[in-house]
Symmetry: C2
Amino acid sequence: MALKGNAVYAQSGGVTSVINASAYGVIKAAQKTDFIENIYAGLFGINGILEDKLIDIAQESKEAIEGLRYTPSAAFGSCRKKLASLKDNHAEFERIINVFKAHNIRYFFYNGGNDSMDTAYKVSLVSKELGYEVISIGVPKTVDNDLPVTDNTPGYGSVAKYNAVSIREGSFDVESMHRDSTKVFVLESMGRHAGWIVGATGLAAVSEKDGPHLILFPERKFNQDGFIAQVQEIVAKIGFCVVAVSEGVRRMDGTFLADSGLVDSFGHAQLGGAGNAVSEIIKKNTKLKVHTAILDYCQRSGRHIASKTDVEQAIACGEKAVQLAAEGKNGHMPIIVRDSDSPYHWSIGDTEIVNIANKEKDVPDHFIREDGYHITAAFRAYAAPLIAGEDYPPFDQGLPAYVRLKKALVPQKIK
Amino acid sequence: MALKGNAVYAQSGGVTSVINASAYGVIKAAQKTDFIENIYAGLFGINGILEDKLIDIAQESKEAIEGLRYTPSAAFGSCRKKLASLKDNHAEFERIINVFKAHNIRYFFYNGGNDSMDTAYKVSLVSKELGYEVISIGVPKTVDNDLPVTDNTPGYGSVAKYNAVSIREGSFDVESMHRDSTKVFVLESMGRHAGWIVGATGLAAVSEKDGPHLILFPERKFNQDGFIAQVQEIVAKIGFCVVAVSEGVRRMDGTFLADSGLVDSFGHAQLGGAGNAVSEIIKKNTKLKVHTAILDYCQRSGRHIASKTDVEQAIACGEKAVQLAAEGKNGHMPIIVRDSDSPYHWSIGDTEIVNIANKEKDVPDHFIREDGYHITAAFRAYAAPLIAGEDYPPFDQGLPAYVRLKKALVPQKIK
């Protein structure tokens, strides 16, 4: 029989189109239990717990809670805060315990990526180390798709779809204009360390003319001469070329391409971004006309073109987190299990957070074409089902009717 | 009774999400007439006529023609070619006439913006000046919305919607992350001369926290100190700030902000784009963390989030063009007429192309807030109905199922 008490949910790290769908899953499932009495949310992630700023979810309207299903970003506020270890950081953990005690919090749901799972893991040690019984459950989230153990991560399917749709549309554009105008279109995707997002653009390339024609992965060093030769060959063959580049691509010497070597009028170095850097390299070495798109935050908050699969998995991970809490699985996190590729079937399992925290999963070699410039059939088989299906938000006057929460705080008990 | 003969349709200038919807309107309407026998399309705009490269629309499948309704870009290829005047360019006009004669072309439909209407106008003079009877009809198109006479232009509603949706999503992102991370989000919109597109982002700003908080119009000179003060004030008040900037914004001295003053390691000037320039200015003067999105071509080909109103008007303009041809209105172009603001009612009228060619319509003063940094209620009343409604393309395996035409050419008759 699970311990009765209150629960706190919080969001951490970079946002996604579906992190609120996980919140929706947690909240709806928690409301159905007989052991979670009140559900609170941390204002700006773990900061809200440290500062005793807890959002009272009971004060949100039913419509607002339903709206979490289709609202991008972090509705409760997110954070970039990392906790130091229990040993080095006793005061902060004492503070967390005091807030938990003051509000009778027995369940902690932390929704985030690798760094955030480190926080969830540390909180899971609190029961044993500090003697206050609390169950800490991780809820997976990251556009980067770099969490180990889980087959994929909520947030990835939607950013993958946004990027694949964008490059398909940009490619059609350049194809139709290339005779008199732009010959090369460069699109920069997120992914500082792993190439999952930039690789997903490859899903749009079905026939020879479909972009992207070249993909630059952070898992492969950038060979300028080889790349320029590829661009020229493709332009000679079909008249234009579409390039997808990850923000994290590095030169042969290990420096980021994003560090463009540009200086301003005072001689200060400028970080121009990988997309701009690749465009400049093409312009200088080929004289071709180049255009560059930097999707930036729009890609990770592009809920209007979210993947239905992703939305469903995000909700399911939230629901499973509550189930893990019911089972007393302190220090666990739901994972997505791929039961079959085609037809795609998935289910939700779980793992210990310690297997996730601070670990990263790169795109494996057999997912990247041998020459390094595109995806393989194996990548396609992996990623295609993750972008499947549409799940449009409601619109009002031409714009997505996203919700903003009231965020009324529970009366503070700790100064 | 309209002259019997063949028709040629061609696309010109920068593409939009709905130019093919106008093509669809022209083709479907032309197929229903008893005076247009065959419908051809110029391969890459006027180039296809000059080179006798005419796409035979009869050879396209029914599905492909239906697909034009929801496929972005220019399905027949577009161009940036301008014709010199009849007087200075007799040889090119002779060539056009020869191709028209060889293929018995009596109707010319030219789908484009200001520059393209100049071409359509020049062709409309051919009958009188060169003695070959042909009716030239313009079909309006431009994301820039800068054509005079018509209330708005097909292509604008969809790019406006894409930008407004993107800034709403980006704003939600920054709002939720601003405590520990990015404080300012800058989004660059198209529009070299007129601020219609960047202004449309303002539709997303309904409450105080909604971005954009500041809009930089090309119709207003950039005052760096005033702008920085605004950014700082907004960040102080709500914690973050979202800025929409037109690519065409100029400094007080008249130079483009896009000319960023950056030099590469060889000392060559770099064009960084207005978005990057604004971001650098904010970073240097405030030390705030800034992110920048450059939507570039994705915005004008973002058919997946097209405005339903825009799609319907694009088709209606195509249909009306054929009606004008039937009426023998050589040198005319359909226009969109606003019959009422609220509820929004529109109809299609027409004007002489000479009223359109080479003229530009800026955003009027009463559409821009007095301080220059946002839209007024009048802009909102104007633009809101133009982004209304969604018109999603069909999807296949998670991606929009856009069509690519066969583009089989009519046998060449002129070398």
